[in-house]
């Protein structure tokens, strides 16, 4: 394992410190809870939006804190949901008169930590709602499982609720919007390589030189199945087949198309996939009117990509159009 780090245990704290040092005017760092928060939070004229989830998915979510998006993010260690205390203390710190919305990618650990924190915060008199994101079509949803995972599609929920909160919407309205966007968002991912958590020091799974993992999760969880490496055209067909067929998206729909890099894939390849997917959707009568290409939700240095579709309407367009200022920026 070769990574830019000192000590695996200091990986997350040192990353968070870097974010704070790079954004001294807009962000505050609370080391006790791995918390990156807007320096002007809580603002009592808006609902506070909080994300947790594990680390290793950057820019999600610590780098998407800022005006128009999150008020705070309190991640756990690499691929581990935050300890319940982090969420509880963050909720107290960011408690606004208009309430707090906890955004949770749907995983067992996260779900429990956020639900426990919600219970405790409500007992403290804070108005709290929890919203689960579960856009991953790779995972079968059924009553006896933990349900679908939340993956890169969480960006759209975060952006939409962030815009609504910034515009002054009340907690019920913000929740309605979040649920609405989550309901029209679907994602599937594919890995070309595994990834190596710093503390483990070895890849989470072995993938042959000509193998790919289809339907991979963002924590190195193996996916639906292993397959032989294929052309970009075939890979896009596989991803679109799973995603389009799921909602389903149909001819006449207007959609946002996201090609999200999992960490180790260069943006050149992401744009290449984007172009192919855009045209294949057009051929099915589905029109892409919003494009998102880059890294939104990664798995450390895993090479791979996920494809997300969001069915658009005027309300969602308006929310995605709204300005936002986040730490993850390039120019």
């Amino acid at each position: 394992m070769k990574k830019f780090m000192n000590d695996p245990k200091q990986f997350v704290p040192q990353m968070l410190k870097g974010i704070a040092l790079a954004n001294p005017d807009t962000l505050k760092y609370v080391p006790e809870y791995n918390l990156i928060m807007r320096s002007d939070a809580p603002r009592h004229d808006k609902v506070s939006i909080v994300q947790g989830s594990g680390s290793g998915h950057e820019p999600a979510h610590v780098m998407t804190v800022g005006k128009g998006m999150l008020d705070g993010a309190c991640p756990g260690d690499i691929f581990a949901a935050p300890p319940m205390d982090y969420v509880y203390e963050t909720t107290k710190l960011l408690a606004s008169d208009k309430g707090v919305l906890l955004l949770v990618n749907n995983y067992t650990g996260d779900k429990m930590a956020f639900e426990m924190a919600q219970e405790l915060s409500e007992a403290d008199g804070i108005m709290v709602r929890t919203l689960f994101i579960n856009d991953d079509v790779a995972v079968q949803d059924s009553t006896w499982t933990v349900g679908r995972r939340g993956v890169a599609g969480n960006f759209f929920v975060m952006k939409a609720v962030g815009a609504a909160a910034e515009a002054g919407a009340d907690l019920d309205e913000v929740v309605r919007i979040g649920e609405k966007v989550n309901a029209v968002t679907r994602t599937m991912g594919i890995a070309l390589t595994a990834c190596t958590p710093p503390a483990k020091g070895a890849p989470l799974f072995d993938l042959g030189d000509d193998e790919i993992e289809i339907g991979v999760g963002i924590h190195g969880e193996p996916g639906r199945r292993r397959a032989k490496m294929a052309s970009a055209d075939d890979i896009v067909d596989e991803l679109l087949g799973a995603v389009v067929g799921d909602l389903p998206y149909t001819a006449g729909d207007r959609v946002a198309l996201m090609i999200n890099g999992l960490g180790g894939t260069p943006i050149s390849e992401l744009y290449l996939l984007y172009g192919i997917a855009h045209e294949k959707l057009a051929a099915q009568g589905i029109t892409v009117t919003r494009s998102y290409v880059g890294e939104y939700c990664t798995s450390l240095e895993m090479a791979g990509a996920s494809l997300t579709l969001v069915k658009l309407d005027e309300e969602i367009d308006g929310l995605l159009d709204a300005p936002a200022e986040i730490a993850y920026r390039v120019f």
């Binding site: 300890p83 483990k200 999760g217 969880e221 639906r224």
Partner: protein, 216 residues
């Protein structure tokens, strides 16, 4: 069989030390079909338990166990934080209400912990989680306690049952936790949490014996 508060502390210390010692092993188990952080998470929490050991509140066994729960809840992330935290919290609750710590109470404590874990995570036996090691172990203990067996006999049997049951999770398909996302591919390797329980109970039985020998 009946135990003292010092015995409870001894057992907790073994749990903590075993979790720290097996960080890598438990992590590797979790990376077969999970995400590999299980060993790291446990170790980060229990190393605080060890570091703070001398200053922990020892008013009574119940308070002690609940103090451990607090450390776990504030330090351990992932699924393990809430699961193990809840287990210690509920265990502490029963201990607090009990005058003595005899065999029946030990079984009650274990049962409360199990119910807490079930309520928190929604899992049942057979879904390939640590419950598949803990529940049969609790049943074995209950039977032996009812038969009036001595402490070492109870512990050895508990260790054997935990180990057998943990290994047996190999044939199960995961229905909870990250491993469940892999569907049928989760079959063929044991659950990380269940194996961890087996390793820990084996350590407890072994070190209980050594302690008895040393003080004899």
């Amino acid at each position: 069989m009946a135990v003292e508060q010092a015995d409870v502390e001894f057992v907790v210390h073994v749990i903590a030390q075993t979790a720290v010692d097996n960080e890598k092993y438990f992590g590797d188990l979790d990376s077969v079909v999970g995400d590999g952080d299980f060993g790291y998470s446990l170790a980060r929490g229990f190393e605080i338990v060890l570091a703070d050991w001398d200053t922990l509140d020892r008013t009574d066994a119940g308070t002690f166990l609940q103090k451990i729960a607090t450390i776990i809840t504030s330090r351990i992330g992932g699924t393990s934080g809430p699961i193990w935290g809840t287990a210690f919290l509920r265990a502490g609750g029963v201990a607090k209400k009990s005058e003595t710590l005899d065999g029946t109470v030990i079984v009650e404590i274990l049962t409360a912990a199990i119910e807490g874990v079930k309520a928190r995570g929604g899992a049942e036996v057979g879904e390939k989680t640590l419950l598949d090691a803990v529940v049969p172990m609790r049943d074995t203990i209950a039977i032996l306690v009812a038969q009036g067996a001595g402490d070492q006999v109870v512990l050895d049997a508990a260790a054997t049952t935990a180990r057998t049951s943990a290994e047996a999770t190999s044939v199960l398909q995961a229905r909870r936790g990250r491993a469940s996302y892999t569907g049928e591919r989760s079959i063929g390797s044991p659950d990380a949490g269940a194996i961890a329980v087996a390793v820990i109970v084996e350590q407890i039985a072994e070190q209980w014996r050594q302690r008895a020998t040393a003080s004899a």
